[in-house]
Structures are given as structure tokens and as C-alpha cells.
Amino acid sequence: MMNQPGKSQDIEVRPGTFVTGKWYNRSYRIVKKLGAGACGTVYLAEEGRKHVAIKFSLNSSSITTEVNVLKTFQKVQGKTLGPSLLDVDDWVQPNGNKISFYVMEYLRGKELTTFINEHGHEWLGILVVQLLSDLEQLHHTGWVFGDLKTENLIVTYPPAKLRWIDVGGTTQQGRAIKEYTEFYDRGYWGMGSRKAEANYDLFALAMVMLHLYHPNRFEKGTNPEKTLLSKLQQTNELRPYQSVIQKALYGDYTTSEQMKIDMQHILMKSTHTTTNYSTPSRTNKRKHQVKKTVKSSPPVRQSKYLWEGMGIVVVVCMFYVVYILLQWI
């Protein structure tokens, strides 16, 4: 994902190759390449009959750092955070080259974008709430995910569960974010620092939601803040979540819990005042369409007017008192 025209960290291993660890002698048969990132290449492999994912890197220190992160994840209760770590070792190639690798659980799933497009837009809110619970748990242990982006999220189904797959950017709170992608980085948008804080992840999550509907991303332009806001307002599919996303972009949520509560609130409400923003083809397929009702909005508006009116009365009264006092003096 990162731009490195100069050097390629890509490691080619032919399918069928057996990779055996130098220290622990566990052996894996390579099946196919799954992807290549900034500091390594991930392959699907088999150990016996079990599918696993192996990440290779020429840079043994980046493997070691990621393994450290995966290990801390495993100490967290529930351990649904990220894939679980199975093995760490070095592979000495026949030509003498040494490549470090680690083996993790293979998560079979769809990319977030694909999943939403296939299963419907109503899933977005649900999955985001799920992710927010996971982030909450992660933040409680003193870590920040860092490189949160659409490509790092996959959905395993059924039951639908959003999982993150690349932990390379995970950083201890209060430190400088280890790895990031510009589009999802609040520093790049001039919306905050690159310190690992809970709201760094929440900004990235808001960008993930925007990215779903702007798959080609967009440039920051001369006024990044304005660009973000106008893109958000232009995106009809995100209208129900607009206020939440905006708060996340501005870093107004200091914990994932706050954002989760607001999201849940919107999700619960949307079953009554149905805002069916899914694509037409999708809407036709779904049988349980909820009828549009507008009845819940008038009371809200009424109470708003009530407050406004009371405010005006109070202000006028205050001025009147001042006026009387001045007259009296």
C-alpha cells in the first residue's frame, strides 16, 4: 500500500514450497499469495490440513514488533481482537537467505466494501458498532490500532463479524503512531496530531465510512477540513450517521464508547423513521421493507421551538431588567 518505487519488499515463494522453521521445525506448505504490504508479504499455507496465514519479511525487526503486538492481544480476554498468533520463526532458504516469518490464524472473509455491497448498506452501522466495541476493548488495554483502513478490515460470515487483519500500526497510547496511511491519518488532513490516542482511531474509522462511498478516495485540496465536510454532506448513504461522523472527524469523541452509544442510538431510531438508503436493486430484494413514517419528527421540532422561545423570553427579560436599573440610577 505504501509507495515505494525504489525498493520492493515483495517476497516470492512458489506455491507448493515447504517452509520449515529454523528454531521450532514446524513445517508449512505454501498455497498462494494473499497480499503484499509495506513491510512484508502474506501467504496462505497449510500445516497438515489446517489453513494458516504466514507473513514473511526481510526485515526481521518489523516481524518481531508485530509479533509483540499480537502477543499482547492474546493476553486480552475474549481474544477476538485480530487474528491469533500460532508460530514465530526464521526460514533459511536453500540459498542461505534468512527470512523471518510468523504464522497466524487464517481468517476467511470478505473485504468490508464487498460485504456491504453484497449484503446491503444497513450492515454498515451494525458492523461499525461491533468494531467500536473491539476498539473500546483495545483502548482499555492501553493500545491504539493506528493503521485502521478499509483494506485492513474483513468480514467473516455468518455470523457477520468484522475483524482486523494487519496489526503493524498498533501503538501504545501516548506514543507516536507507528504506521499509517495518509487518507486515514488525521495529521495528513490537518485535523490533529499523530499521537496514539483513542480519537486517532475514531477519525480513521470515520474515514473508513467515507471511503466506502468514495472508493477512489479524494485529494485534500487547499482546505482539507472543508473538503472533508463537503464530501460528508454529499454522501447520501451516510446521511443518517452524518453527525456522528462529523464529531469523530473533529476528535470530539474521547472514547469509542461515546461514539458507539451515538451510533446505537441512530440504529435504533432508524427502524422507526426508516431511511432506506440502500441501492434500488437491494431494496427490491429485501422483503421486510419498513414503511416510511414521519410521525416521530414533529414532537422533536415542537420541543426545539419551545426551548428557542423560552430562550428569547429570558434574554428579553434580562435586557428589560438592565433597562429598568439604568432608569432607576
Binding site: 515505494q4 518505487p5 518481531t64 526464521d90 501516548g174 495529521g187 495528513y188
Partner: protein, 246 residues
């Protein structure tokens, strides 16, 4: 309270040196004095092939114990901060490796340790990288061909300070350009903890085709020494100024 201090020179250029001494030799000298040299070669966005002479970029960085990268102007920001961080880790690993060799004997390095031990050592390296103080002297090639890349360089330096100031350790940056009007290098910005005031400093440009990278590097090394001398003269003043400016 005395923590380690890392010194780096970040050279941003788009071509090969054509005047004065061999930059690799100067880089070697710098490395011996504990200064790491990183080099970034910048390509025009529409340049499809690597122009001649840019191999020098890798040579100089290798001699200077640093990291090199050749990039398109548009991806400069992310590269600048990545190269700086990578070089820090590399230097710190070097230091830790030396210590390991003293304790465990020669031929012991982090890579030779079993994975678990390696993990513990890496944690130490990371802690150091987060907390150590850092001084970066940015040396920008401002010869004619760099002209339209300078705004991007400026953005990327601002971005660099954003990344590094998120660390716990203190940072100090200074910017020099070469070739200078009369000297080998010209000072654009003196040592400062933050680079957000650089927007107005870059218009000074020299034209002409000469790229005296070697002499410029030598002059840059001297800036570190000059500062050290000054510092020993007025230690008090310095420590007051060294407060990070968040």
C-alpha cells in the same frame, strides 16, 4: 536525566553531484562521528524511468549508515518520515547490537537470538526510539531542476515535524539549502523544535546546474559541531530553549 541523542542529516536531492569531493567519502566521515546520513532522491511525477546518477543516493546513504529511498514527488511526505524513523531504529539497533556483543561475545546480534528473546530486545529498541532526543538537519538541493518540487519538500518537512513531535522525546530541526550563494550551504532555518513556520522560508533559490553534494554535506556536519561548541559555552541558555514546544 541524560538520555541518548541521535543526530541525522536528511539530504533531499534529484540528481547526482557534479562538483567537489565525493559525497560518499564525506558520508563515511560523518558516520564515524556518530551522524547518520539519509538520502531521498526525488523524481518528477511523470518521470517513468530512473534518471542517471541517482544510484549515488543509495551509495551515500549506505556510507552514512542511513536509509535511502527514491520516490515520486507526490509520495514524499510519507517517505520522509518513514526514512527518518527507519534510520532511528537502525541506529538504535546498531547500538543495542554492540552492547549484546560485549555481553554475549562476538557474532551475537539481534537476528541471531531466538524469536522470544528478539521480541524483548525489540521492545527496548522501540522504547529508545520513542524517548530519545533527535536532531535532524535537512539539507535541500535547490538547484534549478528542483524548482517545482520545493513546495512538496516544504509540505513533507512540515509532515515530518508532525510525526516526530508525536514522540515523547525532544526534537530539533534545522534546514539548509545548497548550493549556497557564497558558501557551500545557506541556512534557511536555525535549530527549532517545530517546523510549522517554514511556509515563508523557501523562495530563496539559486539557479545553475551545479550540485556540490560533497562540500555541502561537509558543511552540514560542521553545523552539528558548531552547535556543540556553542552549547558548551552557554549550557544554561540551551537547556531552557530545549523545552519541546507543544
Amino acid at each position: 536525566m541524560k538520555k541518548g541523542m541521535l543526530k541525522q542529516i536528511l539530504l533531499i536531492t534529484d540528481g547526482c553531484s557534479n562538483q567537489g569531493e565525493d559525497p560518499s567519502a564525506v558520508a563515511t566521515l560523518a558516520h564515524q562521528q556518530g551522524i547518520t546520513i539519509n538520502v531521498i532522491g526525488v523524481l518528477e511525477n511523470d518521470q517513468s524511468e530512473q534518471p542517471e546518477g541517482l544510484e549515488e543516493v543509495e551509495e551515500v546513504a549506505m556510507s552514512g549508515g542511513g536509509v535511502s529511498q527514491i520516490v515520486y514527488a507526490k509520495s514524499l511526505s510519507q517517505t520522509v518520515q518513514m526514512v527518518t524513523r527507519q534510520a532511528m531504529t537502525q541506529t538504535l539497533q546498531g547500538v543495542v547490537n554492540q552492547e549484546l556483543q560485549q555481553i554475549l561475545g562476538p557474532n551475537q546480534s539481534i537476528e541471531e537470538l531466538p524469536p522470544e528473546k528478539r521480541g524483548e530486545v525489540m521492545e527496548v529498541v522501540e522504547d529508545l526510539g520513542e524517548t530519545c532526543d533527535l536532531e535532524v538537519l535537512v539539507l535541500v538541493d535547490t538547484s534549478a531542476s528542483m524548482h517545482n518540487k520545493l513546495p512538496t519538500v516544504q509540505d513533507s518537512l512540515y509532515d515530518l515535524s508532525l510525526s516526530l513531535n508525536a514522540r515523547m522525546g525532544n526534537n530539533r530541526f534545522s534546514i539548509y539549502s545548497f548550493p549556497g550563494k557564497r558558501k557551500d550551504i545557506d541556512k534557511i532555518m536555525d535549530w527549532t523544535p517545530k517546523l510549522d513556520s517554514i511556509s515563508s522560508v523557501f523562495p530563496k533559490l539559486t539557479s545553475g546546474g551545479i550540485t556540490p553534494t560533497g562540500p555541502a554535506l561537509r558543511a552540514a556536519i560542521q553545523q552539528f559541531e558548531k552547535k556543540r561548541n556553542l552549547r558548551s559555552l552557554m549550557t544554561r541558555d540551551e537547556s531552557a530553549r530545549e523545552e519541546p514546544g507543544y
